[in-house]
Amino acid sequence: MIQYQAFLPEIWLVGAAFLVLIFELFYKSNSDRGLLKAVAVVGVVGALLSLGCELGCVSGGCPVQACCSMGTTVPTAFGGFLKTDALAAFFKLIILLATLLTLLISFRYFKANPTFYVAEFIAIILFSAAGASVLTSAQEIITLYVALETLTISSYLLAAFMKKDKSSNEAGMKYLLLGAFSSALLLFGFSYLYGFTGTTVIADIGKALATQVSSPLLTLAVIMIVAGLAFKISLAPFHMWTPDVYEGSPTPVTAFLSVASKTAGFAAFVRLFWVGLSVPALQPTWIGLFAVLAVLSIILGNLEALPQRNIKRLMAYSSIAQAGYISAGFLAGGQLGLTAVLFYLFVYLFANMSVFLAIAIVNGKTGTDQIEDYAGIWKRSPLIGVVLLVGLLSLAGVPPFAGFSGKWYLFGAAISKGYTWIALVGMIFSVVSLYYYLQVARQALVSEPKDPSPIEMNWVERAVLVISVVFIVTLGFWPTPVMQMAQTAASSLFN
């Protein structure tokens, strides 16, 4: 029997996407499409609610017993190909929140950059969120591949969405060619994996490989899988596309790629490597690979961010470095490392999304993304000044904020498994990163504005920014509740 609870959030997302496309037919071309926006938001909120309900049922703490028709069993569907365990649910939570914030950013973006294709944009965002969401619960490499491609093919379209804009087109093409190339690499690795084991179920791949000795072909397969997925989360040296795509894409798409797409990539990594390839013959190989990729990302990402003048490009390099930090926790692995990865992704979600919302609001007023045009933002909108300061300092890992505790757990996990040198590189370059993050904050808080007119925002945006700041500060002092959730999620992978 199919337990539809396993993919209820995706049903909400895809259903909302189709409704948006259908309602669009009834609109005149120049109306503001308020209903479509409402449908999209309801779809994502519904997905979040169904996810929360399912989590509550599995842990036995759901107040509404009527919605728990299946007791405390973990919902699975399609013969075990989809299984929404606590780990998948945690990843889904991050992806859905990121989608919600992306929608909010896109409403602001389209106010400043009108287009006739709002409905298509919203629908594609929802489809790609559904792909990312399926990816987190995929237990099998065909499902994983199809979900990953749903996510990335939608992202190509989103990156190239402003078709009158030369840079958006260029971003789309670069993303597409490199993304398709990396998918092909990944698939070639998958085909050898299938050849060695005769199965596509990740857990069975792990069992079949457990007795195998390492061979050059198997190592090649692992290298190709790492390379293919490293493209998706933009680990150096597979990061060449990131700055161009992040700068050229519409701001909501950049925000989506930097959080939702990256989280989905890490979900695939965790499932594939810690369940399927966590065998004595292969583990040293891919852990070594990840160590190199993590250190390279941390060094290159931070150094290349230093001279940047465009804030979206700066955030691109920053996100490469952040992927490096997260990889340090990922390769440490085990309960400790994976908990740290999940917690950091959660913190990263709020820090990055609030900064991108601020970027979209500023861009809507000034029409530029250059850092020198952020001069005196503090005087024009105090809230944006605070968000930039708190969000960027959290990304840098400065003590009172959540980024600090996140990095503490990541590097702690790395040190506990003997990767002290990676943690050391991470800490040194966190200090380097302070320079370029503070450069933005200095412009925003210290310089005098050229144009002192205030920047307006509506109450939803104000509320989201305030909530994000509160979250980032609170999680810094009191990470326990989220840490406990992350611990439950990480331990669901091992039993």
Binding site: I142, Y145, V146, L157, M173, L176, L177, F181, S191, Y194
Partner: protein
């Protein structure tokens, strides 16, 4: 039984994949790059079918994967051509190197 051994298929697929990678890296025209990617995907398909026959023809896992790969390759090609046409309208060329508006 007198049939072609598995390793021949693997060599063929590896060569096809190599040709595809070369096409992606060496060609300047976006359409040619796309053709290289299609060759890589076809190499993957050959691999899957060869392995499927080697393991168990009746399980269908391999052939099903191939069907999905073909479907997704078609979707990817549709999106790719749309984006390439759109960029052609701006630049009057589909040459990858001529798209250098974005630079750090």
């Amino acid at each position: 039984m007198n049939s072609i051994p598995l390793v021949h298929f693997l060599y063929l697929a590896a060569m096809l994949f190599g040709v595809g990678v070369f096409g992606v890296l060496a060609r300047k025209n976006a359409i040619s790059v796309l053709m290289g990617i299609e060759l890589m995907l076809n190499a993957v398909n050959i691999n899957f079918l060869a392995f499927a026959r080697y393991w168990n023809w009746n399980s269908l896992t391999g052939p099903v994967f191939v069907v999905f790969v073909i479907t997704i390759a078609a979707a990817e090609a549709a999106v790719a051509l749309a984006i390439i046409i759109s960029i052609y309208r701006h630049l009057r060329t589909a040459n990858v190197d001529d798209a250098h508006y974005l630079r750090g």
